[in-house]
Symmetry: D2
Subunit: 105 residues, 4 copies
């Protein structure tokens, strides 16, 4: 699949800012994932069986994808929908497709 790069825009924010509750929820999920990554380091230090480490890596990947899908859904419901309603959907939909392709790799 071709690699279409998406330019990072550090000064850009969601059209609808995330509420404090939304931010906290996301950060908590990411903290749990951070804990899982530290758990992986411990498994390597303990020279744990390869397959067990691999199963744990799969589980972290799956947790990260879930966070990604939650962000993607929120982004479509708010940013993309607002843009569509104000007649500027094209650019947002193009970007959405690029990020979906990258995500489904």
């Amino acid at each position: 699949m071709e690699n279409e790069n998406i330019e990072i825009q550090p000064d850009r924010n969601p059209i609808t800012p995330r509420t404090e509750e939304e931010r906290n929820k996301l950060i908590n999920r990411l903290k749990r994932i951070e804990g899982q990554i530290r758990g992986l380091q411990k498994m390597v230090e303990d020279d744990r069986y390869c397959v067990d480490v691999l199963v744990q890596i799969s589980s972290v990947n799956s947790a990260l994808k879930q966070v990604g899908f939650a962000l993607l859904e929120r982004h479509t419901r708010t940013c993309v929908s607002s843009a569509v309603q104000s007649g500027e959907g094209d650019e947002y939909i193009e970007e959405l497709m690029k990020v979906m392709k990258q995500f489904s790799k």
Copy 2:
């Protein structure tokens, strides 16, 4: 795809123990990934644009997969090969296939 569970075996080690160099290399890669996860938390705190966060999540997923493939290759070259050579390959190959399926989701 059916979900074939792989049983975690906490007391099991690789047939050929990882060298200190191998362990350090893996741990360093996992520490960089841990740093990326903290970077993601910061992006959420700063209410950064959804697509930028998603691109970063894709990049962490890809880094984790690379670690996984390195482990998978090492596992095949050492543990699976030893088992095949001593005539006990079947069970190892079955396990390898299960973990690969889980990995390719």
Copy 3:
């Protein structure tokens, strides 16, 4: 990743019907894929090397995903956008997310 089933709706059509040109283009791509599948059958008949068959399967999978992404983009640009503009976006976005999750497996 949980399996959220999407109900097939045989009597439903795209909000904006596909033009003849769009239909022909899609059908041509699917005919090429059908040819690739027959090529795979020939490879098996000729007892071709496993890895070569696998590479060809990957290539068909990739071609099918491209068709899927083309459909997904068209669906978002037309059906989902129309629904958002007429205030009925929620249901369409939920469905879009489900199909994307299924697609990124």
Copy 4:
């Protein structure tokens, strides 16, 4: 993930030839998939709802992956194992890893 090309070797066969039963089983699965592809063409001709077509594409992709995993398992059990036993495992394992990476995209 980097794209490591695998060279197609048209004159190469599996170390252990496929039995007639194995060949027939594979060809039957591929014929069913060919039928599904024709079903997709019919869905497009009937201008069926985008999401329904996408669900069907996912299902074909999944069926193709299953065939791929069956081939991969057989390849590992026979070709790779033979090579490992005769001390020529390295090259086969490297090739196996490349094809696994391509497969997990």
